[in-house]
């Protein structure tokens, strides 16, 4: 594995080819906030909180560090006025959904995000995708997935699979930053899990 030399926040960092900027930063104990990232899962690049500024071949651009691959002589800045402003707005958009989320509140404090900037939204899912991806990539059960697109996108349990697998697993529950996942599960269980007794009742 060839060695790549880059600079993060003025600090010289050595990384291996194929690593992402986030991985390189974490290996050098430089903190970059994340929400949709998980070490056991493929990088998702959805929350954009890990956005950093990179300078390569004289040009500066904004990229998400969880996906962007390290390059020789890359110069990375993890904080700046622009980055902080972006993170603040992103947090405010998420807080409109889940104002009580501890994880969001911690970050909000750091970036001065106002949880009342936007009108409250009905769903407290922030679409980090951790539940869906964990069930697909780690557990390989695919009991929960996404439906629809755009502003109507949601997570949805597959009742036939969830009724068999979830009660003995629930490993994804601790990943959810807002507890929406647990609420969705309970609702699906109540409304849609196939019940043997009711099916025989219907047949009569």
């Amino acid at each position: 594995m060839s060695e790549i030399h880059l600079q993060i926040d003025g600090k010289k960092v050595e990384a291996n080819e194929g690593m992402t900027v986030l991985e390189a930063a974490q290996s050098a104990d430089i903190f970059i906030p994340t929400l949709c990232h998980h070490e056991k899962l493929e990088p998702f690049g959805a929350c954009r909180i890990c956005t950093v500024e990179v300078e390569v071949r004289g040009r500066t651009k904004l990229v998400v560090s969880c996906v962007y691959p390290v390059e020789e002589n890359l110069v990375v800045r993890t904080r700046s006025e622009k980055i902080d402003r972006i993170r603040k707005t992103l947090l405010e958009l998420m807080l409109a959904h889940a104002p009580d989320s501890e994880q969001l509140q911690d970050l909000a404090g750091e970036y001065g995000a106002d949880k009342d900037r936007f009108e409250k939204e009905a769903s407290f899912c922030i679409h980090c995708g951790l539940c869906v991806r964990y069930c697909a990539e780690v557990k390989k059960k695919n009991a929960v997935g996404f439906v629809d697109r755009g502003i109507r996108k949601e997570i949805s349990f597959i009742p036939e699979i969830a009724s068999k697998e979830c009660n003995s697993c629930k490993e994804c529950f601790s990943l959810c930053p807002t507890s929406y996942l647990q609420a969705a599960f309970v609702l699906t269980e109540a409304l849609a899990f196939p019940r043997a007794s009711s099916q025989t009742a219907l047949k009569k």
């Binding site: 869906v132 997935g145 996404f146 439906v147 629809d148 597959i158």
Partner: protein, 150 residues
């Protein structure tokens, strides 16, 4: 739709996972909607998780997970039609049929959808019913057009 026909469609595309969308399009085209049994069969034969098919069948607007009405009304909301008053045509259709886009009436007579550009911009505003294009439509004319469908 029977399992045999579904299997035929799957085999026609060599049962390859990348043909998933093409397979579902064929089932949708023949059956006018995707019943649960069809989705489960496709998931089984293509070795594709149900969650993925669920996402695909809700992400792409060509698919319907509920039965459609006898007549599918498509009101074009493309920019050219919008600028020529498509919103008012849509409002009138909604009032007359009692349904909103994405819905089907209780008699299963009409299903209403908005579409983003049928490519007939010269005839805007455009409403398409069962493949027939009604162009240069005025809201006051929509009642007569809809009456002609049983």
């Amino acid at each position: 739709m029977d399992i045999e026909r579904i299997d035929q469609i799957i085999d026609k595309h060599q049962g390859v996972a990348s043909s998933l969308i093409q397979i579902l399009l064929e089932i949708q085209s023949e059956n006018h909607w995707l019943p649960r049994e069809a989705i489960e069969r496709v998931s089984e034969k293509l070795h594709v998780p149900l969650s993925r098919i669920q996402h695909i069948s809700t992400f792409y607007k060509a698919f319907s997970l509920v039965p459609k009405g006898r007549h599918e009304i498509h009101v074009c909301m493309g920019t050219a039609c919008h600028v020529r008053g498509a919103m008012r045509v849509l409002d009138t259709v909604q009032d007359l049929t009692g349904i909103k886009p994405g819905e089907t009436d209780l008699d299963l007579k009409f299903s209403l959808e908005t579409v983003n550009c049928l490519g007939c911009c010269a005839l805007g505003p455009v409403m398409e019913i069962d493949g027939k294009i009604h162009g240069k439509l005025l809201p006051s004319e929509t009642a007569d057009v809809l009456k002609s469908y049983e």
